[in-house]
Structures are given as C-alpha cells and as structure tokens.
Symmetry: C2
Subunit: 600 residues, 2 copies
C-alpha cells in the first residue's frame, strides 16, 4: 500500500500541456523554471511517500477521537505535521513576505496532488489552511495579516472554514450564527457550526477559525453574512497566545471515510461569547468566502485525482501479483490477473480517467497563474474567465471520477477488496465525501450553468469548444503517421464530443429563461459532459505531444507510447459517453420533472 | 430508516410482465394464484418490515464477532431467525415433501427481494441455505436428502457453500482441499476454506457445509473436484446430533459491509480429519455446484434490487423532509430538496434502474418456472435457455446497478449521507460485495459471452432482440395516444438499443475465434448493454401495460402514470448509454489491450 508520486506524468503535463515555460516567464514566477519545478516535485514526493503515506491506512483503522472537548489525532499525525511545517510545504504557493515560497499554482498543484494521494485525511488540514490564508490575503486587514498569516503559512497554526449549520448546508442564506459588536472593534460570536473539517486537533498550539455569522441588523439571506476570525486561543499583540476563546468542540462525527480527519461540531459562545474580529466589510462575508471556496474547490478536485492515482497504483500492484486462472489466449498454468482482459479494461479506465483529470486540472492551474501574474489586464481577465469556467468542472468531474476509479480499484481486488485490511476499500469510502463537500456536484453544476455559462452568453464555453476542435484537426493531420489509427479514432470521438457539448450549451442558453427547471435537470450531466470533452481534449493534446517526442526520438518512448494508447482508450470508452449525456440533457428533462411529490 | 416493501410494483410486475397467470396454470404451480401470491407477499412484507429490517443498522454498528472458534451474531439475529424458520419462510420455494411450501420462483422472488432489502446481512443466511438445498435436491442421495433436507428447509439448520481457498478464488481449478476415502463410505476432509458466508454462527444447532475437495486420484483442474457434505455436528441415524466434526472457524473477516454476516475462515481436518459424505458422483462437484450457483447468482441479483429499493426509499424520505434553498422557479422560502431538479434526477435514476432490474429479474423467474414445470419438453428447454442467458445479466447488471443507486442514495443526503448514523452509507458499503461474490461481474460476463452467446451461435440473444423490437413496434402504435410523446421517445431509444445489442452480438460471434481477447475486453460492457436494453424492454412493456390500465380506467391511475414517466426517464437517461457501450466494445479493444505489463 505504498504511494509513488507519478512524477513522470506530472512533469509531462506541466511542460507539454500546461505550458510551464510560459508561466515561468510571468513576472513574479521567474523562480518556477522547469528545473526548479522538477526539484520541488521530487523533494515533495520523497517527503509524502516517506512520511505521510504510511500514516494513511493506520489513521483509518484508528481514527482521531474526541474526549471532553479535546481531539487526539491518529498516531503519527502530530509529528508528521511538524515535519511538514518545518520543511515549508504549507507555504509553497503563499507569498514570501509571510514566510511562503511564492511558487505559482502550476507548481503547487502537483504537490497538493501528492499530499492528497498520500493521505487525504492528513491533506485536508493543509487544504483548509490554504483556504484560510487565501481569504485573509484577499480581505484581511493589515493587522490581521500581520497576526495570522505567518503562523498559518509556516504551519505553526492551522485554519478552518466554518460555514455549515444544521439548517444551513448548501443554502448559506440560512446561516443563523450571530455576531454582536462589542464597541471595541471586536464581536462576540454565538452559534453552532457543524461539519468543520479539522475543527479541533492537537497538532498545533492554535487554530484559526474563519466563521460566517450575521451582525444584528444584517439583511436576511446571503447579503447579510459577514466573515469573522475566531481563533481557538486569542492572540496577544506580540503574537503570543492569550486566553482560550469560547469556541469549543462538542463532538466529532462518525464517518464513512477520511476517518483520521476530525469533523467537528463547534459551539461558539456558550460561555459568554467567542471573541472574533471582522474580516473586510460587514455583509460581504460570502463574497470573501467564495474566493476561498474557489481555491478549496479546485483543491478538492485535486484530492479526487490524487486519490484516484493511489487507488490505481494499488490495483496495478495487486493485478501484477495475484495469480488466478489461465490466459484466455492459452497458457500452461494460471497467470497474474493483469493478463485478463476485464482486469486490463478496469486498469486502463482508472488510468485514463486519472490522467485526463490531472491534465485538465494542471492546465487550469496554468490559466490561474496567467490570470494572476500576467502584465496585461485583458489577458488576466480572459484567463480568469476560463479558469472560473473550469473550476466547477475540475471539482465536480474529478471527484465523481474518483468514485468510479476507487470502485474499480476494489473490484480489481475481487473478494480481497472487500476486506478492510487490503486497503482498497478505504479509498472507496474516502472518495465518497469528495462530490459532497465544498459544494456537491449539483452545486458545482448550478455554478457551471448559471455563473459560468449563462452569464457570459456561453462565450467561454464556445471558446473552449473551438479549442477542442482545433485539437481534433491536429489529430486528423496525424492520421497518416505511426499509430495513425489511434489518432483517427481520438479525433472522431473528440469531434463528436465537441458537437455534443456545443449542442448542450446552445440548449442551456436557449431554455434557461423559458424553462429553468428543464435546464437545471441536466446540469450535472452537462458538468460530466464538459469534464469528459475537456478531459478528452487534454488527452488528445497529450497524444499529439507524445507523438512529437517519439518522432524526435527524445525521452522515454515507452511512456509516450503508453500515453497515446491511454488517450485512445479514453476516446473509445469515456468520450463515447458524450452522445448519451447530450440526449439525457436535451431530451431527458421531461422524465426528470414529471412526477408529483406524492408519486415518489 | 424503515423499509416498506414495494408491493404495488411487485404485484404489477408479476401480473402484467412476468405472467403469473400462465405460471399458476402450470402443473405443480396451481396454488400460486394471484390471490395467494398477494397474500403471501403481504404476510412476508409484514414480517420482514417488522422483524428483520429493524436489525439492519444495529447489526452494522455491532457486527457479529468471533471468540475462540465461536461466532456470536449481532443482537436480535438469533431470535429473528427462529421466527423466520417457524413461520416457514425458508421453505417458501422448496418441496412440500421436505417441509416447504413448493411455491414457484416467481412468487418466491419478491419475498427474497423483501428479505434482502430489509437486511442483506441477515438475508444471506437464507440465501446460502437455499443454495445448499438446491444442490442436495439435485445430486444428494436419498439418505442425504432424508437426513439434511427437512432441517434445512424448515430453518432448523443452515447451509453454506465452501468453494474459495486462498489461492482459488474465481479459479476453482486451483482448489486443493483433500478428501480421503475411509472405506466406510465416508471421507476425511483436510484443507482451508475462506470467505465462507455464515460459515459459523450461533443461530441454529447445526450448520451443513457443502465443500469442494479433491479425492486422492482425481484429475487436475476443474474435472477433479467433488462435492461433500460436512456438517458442523455429525448427524445420528435418528436425526439427532452426534459428535462435533473437525471443521472449525479460525477467524472471521473485517469487512467493508454486510458486517453482521460472519465471513468465516474454516479449517477442515486439523484434528484428524473432518468427516464428510460424497454428494452425487466423484469429480462432478463443480457441475452440482453450478446448479446451486445459478440459483445463488440469481439471488444475488435480487439482493442488488432489494438493496437499491431500500436506498431509494431512504433517499426519498430524506428529500421530502430536508428543507434547503428556494425553488428554482421561485418560492417564498426554502423548500424540501425534492423540489430541486438534480435531487429529482437522482431519485428518478434510482427508481428507474431499480424498477427495470426488478422487472427483468421477475420475468426471468417466470421463465425459470416454465423451464421447470411446463409439461412440454421443448417449452422447458426453450425457457431454460432464455433463463440461463438472463442469469449473468440479472446478477451482473442488477448488482452494478445497486452500486450506482446506493451511491446516489448517499449523494441525495449531502453531508448527512457521509455520517454513518444516517444509514445511507451502510447501503453504499453493503452494495460493494454484490458485484464480487458468487462470481464477479467479469465472471458473469465471461459466462454471458462464452456459454450463453457463443455456444448457441447467438440464438437466444437474437430471439430476445426480436422481442425487444416487437415491444418497440407496440410502443410506436401508442405514439398517437395520451402520453404519446413518452411512447415515441421510449420506442426510439429501445430500437437504438436493440440495434446496438445486435451489433455487439454479431461482433462477439464474428471475432471470438480470431481474437478472443478483443471480444472479452468488451465482455462487461456487453453485459451492461444487455442489462440496459433488456431492462429497457421491460420498462417499455410496463409502460404499455400501464397505458392499457389507464385506458380501462382500472386501478391506481397515479401509479400507472408514474410507471410511464419512469419508463421515459429510463429511456432518456439509461438506454441512451447503449451507443457508447457499443462503440466501447466494437472499437475499444485496441486501447484495452495495447500496453505491455511493464507500462502499467
């Protein structure tokens, strides 16, 4: 059950598909050369494989536990977090002025993937801290930044996001937690927050809770929500810890997966009020939270990719090792099960989907870097728009993909997969949270339809479809080359996918005003279709890049050949789902919506 | 977390689709009138809902446990099994001469579905006993029948199937357990069997193990396997219990799901040899086991349907209860989430797949009854061939379906679904064993390709495809009727599905000799395609029957309207996957098979 970072594929995607060279040419990204990136990834791989990955299965078997308000984390986690912090990994993507390394997202993303692949429960604490840092960088006052950022960036403290309440899950308009101004610039916070990931633990001396709450005269709904910093321990002017704040963990959840990560119920203000300070302006909390959520949503998509990669590696190792039945084409004795066609099909499916999702996410990270660092405002805006279109796709599709891949991971193991000691089942259980937290797939799909497709009249979507078609054309030009039959097949499916996606975007735009429910009945299929087509686009680009390398005779021919075959598999087995998804969206709303509630 | 047997749908399927009337006209099935069937189903529903279902979640939380060779079952199981046995439910489908009720499979199947839906862990012990009874009826001597059948049929004892060994999972050729003849008609059995469901427990005074083993001079491979009865306690001539046999449970597994059902490692013969008697003839064990396995495979398919139904009911209840966010079409305040289109889409998908799988399985049960009871040998043979084609489809497709449905069941619950107390996660965990045990989906698919398609040159497959087309034609005739647009849509997708399935059968037949691996690379997609098309066929028939009832003004109009809408949903969202599956099979083998082992 070891984890080996897929460095070769990561570097291939960064260099050949996500244009690391262009990113490292941006002002502020000069350090991110191909050489540096490779060195950072190698170092990170060594660390997560050696220190973090071995804690994954033991943490599942002996989860973090709660006693009397305290959470004791799974064995080894505290020490591992100390090493993680000391090596500077928490600060990889954060500004140097607060103790970070200031590397672009394109270099940070593979490191996030490795951490999450090694140990999702563990990786979550870093992901949540990243979100808190992002929010404070965006909207924190200078004083707040000075107080909280360096401890968060250096991993001295960790951060949390406190959104959900029992009655307010996907619907943050229903948040009830109160924030009462004390006249001294502070507020007293009262309320209950649930599902707070790493909301309490023993790994660091302080925890910085970012909390959504309402001030007394705030308007109803989402326009009346403000964001507050509520530290577990108050912080003195010199940065030392002061009194224990009135924010207490009253229980943690008994969950299907990610068991080592404590999911807390936090009670604010039961003993007089938890002291908090306002972040930014009153009633703009949701806006700030969205910035942090976009980063977190992208991060959750990466979790899906990391987890899928780990499940794939484990299934491959088992399939090479387990001997059972003869080869269908004839063999003297039984062979390892990787020789059986259906095992092969499952492994290829796991591999192809993971690689496609990785490529799409890293390309997204590259766009995000251009959106942040490019000197030209129009370039920034254009790339931001594309990145924002991709975020719900990366989050929604990569996580749904991880469910399929971890499922196949168990299936490859047969009966052994159902036994917890084997470890494959943990991935299947862990994966199930990914399409739920940080906005369910339906919430992502609503975002994709509403904010990302309808709002700009489909402009970004059509721009991307045109790019997919351009790649299909390039693939067509290789139909006469070596492996030409693969390129022709990929081209055909990619063109079909582009047409299906185009038809769906047109359907969304044409009907969203006249029949909003019909459109949203197809929102998740639309998200999946976008994932498949855009993932297929990246696999097409990958096949072209691999062919070019083969023609040049450079590098690892076996890797490039495998990339072409994997792209071919993706085209035949995954992209071929596009026409069915299109029909389900364009024709399928009648069946979704026709029953009355009492007919269920 | 209650379970309500879907009696209305069950009776509709039995009467309108599976032709209960024709079955009850068969000699030996006269008792199975529509009235009797309804009464039996109602009584069974009352029993499983009241006694068995409430044990499901507690049994998951506090699984059966092993100590010093003994297994203590989850609280309440022993008493519930006593009531189950006393009420005669174990014997429902078994011969009256051994204490059963001798009802046809078509009446027994809904009762199996209810039991499994109520509590899969519990239901397994009954399923395994059914298998043992089946094997003894087929191949047992008169003496064996006299000794073992009545206690098994009346639930005084339970039965097990002992196939798997550490090195022999899917590949039974690798079985090593030895059976040494003692010269007195008995054998001594030596070996280790793993994954023995309900292999040890405290619910009955004896357990009848059916064990695959090799006699000293048996040929290698599957042709040298014999079947033995090895009871936990030897049985005296008068039926009383004798000595404890040398068959001991050395441990039980720690599993992803079905935790209340003990999965035993059984050690035979560590203290001198376990005494067993041969069933039937030497070296024909696998043949007998296959009879029992066919029954068990069908039963596992039914488990998938029962579990899917339960997950659906739980998701519907939550979706009606949970209030979150406003209605997309506008509402004063937040609404229950069943109003949100994507929740609706998931519920419809769960419902449509469950109903389709149920209809296909019950129709299969009806064919099985004709195959057993029809006076005409040709009729029996023709229906047996169809039933045998359907078994791997019912097993493979219904169980893969149950994974999708239980996944959506968790997803509908959002964050609450990930919390074990909610109960949705248990179904997701329980489901994962279904496509694995009694032959993985790949094993079912191999059977579908090899024994069920290639062996008869596709005859049965083509016969079924013709029936699908006939239904499509009938649907076309209703295109002008009320709900005509639904019928037209179902017709179109069903015709497409029939063509896709036909193309795949032709591909299989044309290539199985020249490129066996290419064909088997598509075996699981073929199985899924067959499930979708044949399930869609049943939904099309159901829609026609419902329309007829509506036109007659008979019965529950709301139920019939819902059936038509559900069939429409199935056509648009599930049947539309058929073209993609066809491409994956016909074109997709290149990508499956091209990598070398070291490229993984």
């Amino acid at each position: 059950m070891s984890y080996n970072a897929p460095l070769k594929d990561m570097l291939f995607v960064m260099n050949e598909l996500a244009n690391l060279q262009a990113v490292s040419a941006l002002p502020g990204c000069e350090d991110a050369t191909a050489e540096t990136a490779e060195a950072v990834l190698e170092e990170n791989a060594k660390f997560v494989s050696g220190v973090i990955a071995p804690l994954n299965h033991p943490g599942d078997k002996e989860p973090s536990f709660w006693h009397d308000g305290q959470v004791t984390t799974s064995k080894g986690f505290k020490e591992a977090f100390r090493q993680f912090a000391e090596a500077g990994w928490q600060g990889l993507q954060h500004p140097q002025e607060f103790g970070g390394q200031g590397l672009p997202k394109l270099v940070g993303t593979p490191c996030v993937e490795m951490l999450q692949g090694a140990n999702m429960s563990y990786g979550l604490v870093a992901l949540l801290s990243d979100g808190a840092i992002e929010a404070l960088l965006t909207a924190g006052s200078d004083e707040q930044k000075a107080t909280y950022l360096e401890p968060l960036v250096t991993g001295k403290w960790t951060g949390t996001m406190n959104l959900t309440e029992p009655q307010a899950g996907s619907d943050l308009a229903a948040v009830r937690t109160r924030a009462v101004p004390q006249g001294d610039g502070t507020y007293k916070i009262f309320g209950t927050k649930i599902f707070i990931t790493w909301g309490e633990h023993d790994m660091t001396e302080n925890i910085v809770h970012l909390v959504l709450a309402r001030t007394p005269d705030a308007p109803a709904g989402v326009k009346g929500i403000s964001l507050f910093i509520v530290p577990k321990f108050l912080v003195n002017a010199d940065g030392s810890l002061g009194e224990r704040n009135d924010a207490h963990c009253v229980s943690i959840e008994h969950k299907l997966g990610i068991k080592a990560s404590p999911t807390a119920v936090l009670q604010f203000g039961d003993n007089g009020g938890a002291i908090g300070t306002l972040v930014g302006e009153e009633n703009r909390g949701l806006e700030y939270m969205f910035i942090m959520m976009n980063a977190a949503r992208f991060g959750v998509g990466i979790q899906g990719i990391g987890l899928a990669e780990r499940a794939y590696q484990q299934a491959v190792a088992f399939a090479k090792d387990r001997v059972q039945s003869r080869d269908l084409a004839g063999s003297a004795g039984p062979v390892s099960i990787i020789h059986h066609p259906d095992v092969r099909r499952m492994l290829m499916s796991m591999r192809a989907q993971t690689e496609a999702a990785r490529a799409l996410a890293y390309v997204g990270a590259g766009f995000s870097d251009i959106a942040h660092y490019h000197p030209d405002a129009d370039e920034r805006a254009a790339h931001m728009a594309i990145y924002e279109y991709l975020v719900p796709v990366i989050k929604g599709w990569s996580t749904e993909m991880s469910e399929n891949v971890t499922r196949d991971g168990v299936q490859v193991h047969g009966g052994m997969g159902f036994i917890e000691e084997t470890g494959a089942a943990q991935h299947y259980r862990d994966a199930k949270i990914l399409p739920i937290y940080e906005g369910t797939t339906a919430i992502q799909a609503n975002d994709l339809v509403g904010r990302k497709t309808v709002r700009d009249g489909g402009k970004v979507a059509q721009h991307l479809i045109a790019q997919v078609r351009a790649t299909a054309t390039q693939l067509g030009e290789l139909a006469g080359a070596e492996h030409g039959e693969h390129f022709a097949a990929i081209r055909a499916q990619l063109e079909q996918g582009a047409s299906d996606l185009e038809a769906v975007v047109a359907f969304v735009l044409a009907n969203v005003k006249s029949d909003v429910k019909a459109v949203f009945a197809g929102s998740v299929p639309y998200l999946k279709l976008a994932g498949i087509v855009l993932g297929g686009w990246q696999m097409g680009r990958a096949a072209i890049a691999a062919q070019k390398k083969l023609a040049e005779g450079a590098g690892d021919a076996s890797f490039y050949q495998a990339k072409i075959v994997t792209a071919r598999f993706f085209a035949d087995h995954i992209l071929t789902q596009s026409a069915g998804l299109k029909s389900a969206i364009v024709d399928g709303h009648a069946g979704v919506l026709a029953l009355a509630e009492d007919q269920f």
